[in-house]
């Protein structure tokens, strides 16, 4: 009998992995184009370099462990785009290189590659460089601003405080709510436009690329908790600012629903979303960094397999 060694999923449902990745790339590409509109072509260059680095790292991993080439499964492109969009637009290139290498080598390859990684590679990479170089991560350029495309000299770039920085200081951000909603405030490159991210969520949910229950449970719980426990000013302004600032919407759509790090069952997914929301609320209020969502996400990734096992054991308990 001939044995074929492949990566999961083994039960085919007509949906291919590359098709899902292509849809993700389309959505991330739209977010990238929106960011290019604000910051210029530098962001596009960053994205291309990031993709090249990620694919090159995947090739190295394939060569080292003598497995079939995994660079073709497009997951490296998704990781590269997420990393670029979560970083500020005026970030040095070496930081992108380190983040990409960390995501592929440490967060993914060490655990056995795509489908075996217990933690989201992009979240791990962002958490790593947040710990190492926080001054580069939370220094957001004001918008709109055309950044130099190839030059490494970023001394002429003007920076502003993000909405979360104001909230952490106990004040209300002096930005209009419409600006916050459309991402016209200092923030990470691709996480600004709430409208676009909500549209991506609907598209990916309709196409069944992501588990909509996880995102919905996460967003609803987070909105409820941030409204009940406002950080500054009126409750609805505080809740709106928290939901449409930082990595929250972006992570809810693209990172929380990563199939290899989230629960497979529906009930497990809902519980996972609720736990993630509580963890993010706690991290944002008591964490030392301006945006601690990636840390909360990594912690919640660790409980995803336990949730799956727990949900699977419910019928046995009833018997």
């Amino acid at each position: 009998m001939k044995l074929i060694k492949t990566s999961p999923p083994f039960i085919k449902s007509g949906k291919s992995q590359s098709a899902s990745m292509k849809r993700m790339i389309v959505c991330l590409g739209l977010a990238l184009i929106y960011a290019v509109f604000f910051f210029g072509l530098r962001l596009l260059v960053n994205a291309i370099i990031s993709i090249i680095i990620c694919e090159f790292c995947e090739l190295i991993v394939s060569g080292l462990v003598r497995l079939p080439n995994t660079a073709k499964d497009l997951s490296a492109i998704v990781t590269a785009l997420i990393i670029v969009l979560l970083l500020p637009a005026a970030v040095p290139l070496w930081l992108i290189l380190i983040a990409d290498a960390f995501a592929v080598f440490i967060a993914k390859a060490v655990f056995g590659g795509l489908g075996h990684n217990p933690f989201n590679p992009s979240a791990c990479a962002i958490a790593f460089i947040t710990v190492c170089w926080p001054k580069y991560i939370f220094r957001y350029p004001t918008v709109p601003q055309m950044l130099p495309v190839f030059s490494a000299d970023l001394s002429k770039v003007t920076y502003g405080s993000s909405v979360l920085a104001y909230l952490n200081a106990g004040g209300v951000a002096p930005y209009r709510l419409s600006d916050i909603f459309f991402g016209a405030v200092p923030t990470a490159a691709g996480t600004g436009c709430g409208l676009l991210l909500l549209a991506c969520f609907i598209y990916l949910s309709v196409k069944r690329t992501i588990h909509w229950r996880i995102t919905a449970a996460f967003l609803l719980t987070f909105t409820l908790l941030s409204a009940v426990l406002p950080r500054a000013g009126l409750w609805y302004i505080s809740a709106f600012s928290e939901v449409f600032s930082g990595y929250l919407l972006f992570a809810a759509v693209f990172m929380l629903t990563d199939p290899s790090t989230s629960p497979k069952s529906d009930i497990g997914g809902i519980i996972y979303g609720v736990i993630c929301a509580i963890a993010v609320i706690l991290m944002r209020r008591y964490g030392i960094y301006e945006e601690s969502l990636c840390f909360a996400l990594i912690i919640c990734n660790a409980i995803a397999p336990t949730l799956d096992r727990w949900v699977a054991s419910i019928p046995e308990r009833r018997l």
Binding site: L3, K5, W94, I106, V110, F128, V131, C132, W133
Partner: protein
Amino acid sequence: MPHLKQVRKSKQKPMLSKPKKQYTEMSGYQLRLRRAFDNQLDRAVVQSAKTTMRGLARTANIKPIDNYNYDDRLHETNAKNVFRNGLLLNNPILFNALGVTVLIGACDTLFKALVISGVTLALMLVTELLTSLFYKDFDTPMRMTAYVLTAAVLLALIAPPIFNRYPALVSSLGIYLPLLCITGLLTVRCETFASVNTAGLAFADAIGCSCGFGSIAILFGVLREFFSANSFAGIIIGKGHTLPAASMAFFAFLMLGLLSALAQRLRRFWFRRRQSDLEDAVEEDKL
């Protein structure tokens, strides 16, 4: 009517299954039969498990390692082998994760690593020797208490002179210096090795394990200090980018994981080479 009484009893307390006969209730023949059956059953279970594991290994395309019996090699009981195992082949930190807390928490500079290594050597040496000479006859709870008490008393003797000479260094070690008294490195080696071996072997094990742990601790100290502050033994040797995370615990965990994986790979490679050498030698003898 005894029969009816039995029925009533069974109604009062329904029995789901017939209880098995105990060994004491059986006759000689039954007893022999039962024991033979149990032995056969045990063998069958073990054989089945072995077959399953081999089958799984074959399915997953893992090369069988039946020929490489690590345990035999790792338990060759002469002082040289014991020392070599502690230092390299069965390094306590790389293969058994003993003393991880101290390594991760304290060894972020060269001087800290040196102090930790020296104190570990002293504690291991005295405690393992005393265990092999005297404590091996104690009951288990008493024995465990004896290890910790011995280490604590010894640390109370060692720590003040070091503190007087390097107060800032010892203060920066914080809780991790006293933690050496109850670290797994000390208790596990005393319990699993020193308490069942002679004083000479315990001495070799204490030196080997301490050197094995110390070498990794010093390596971690040097690397973490260099990455986090571009310095070596407190002297700045470069002005490049620093990696502040290198002094944090998670970075040390990553380093330990990668180093451990590399060490296991090298150990397997070494065993296989030794195995092929032995096979070659056997074939030459036959010829």
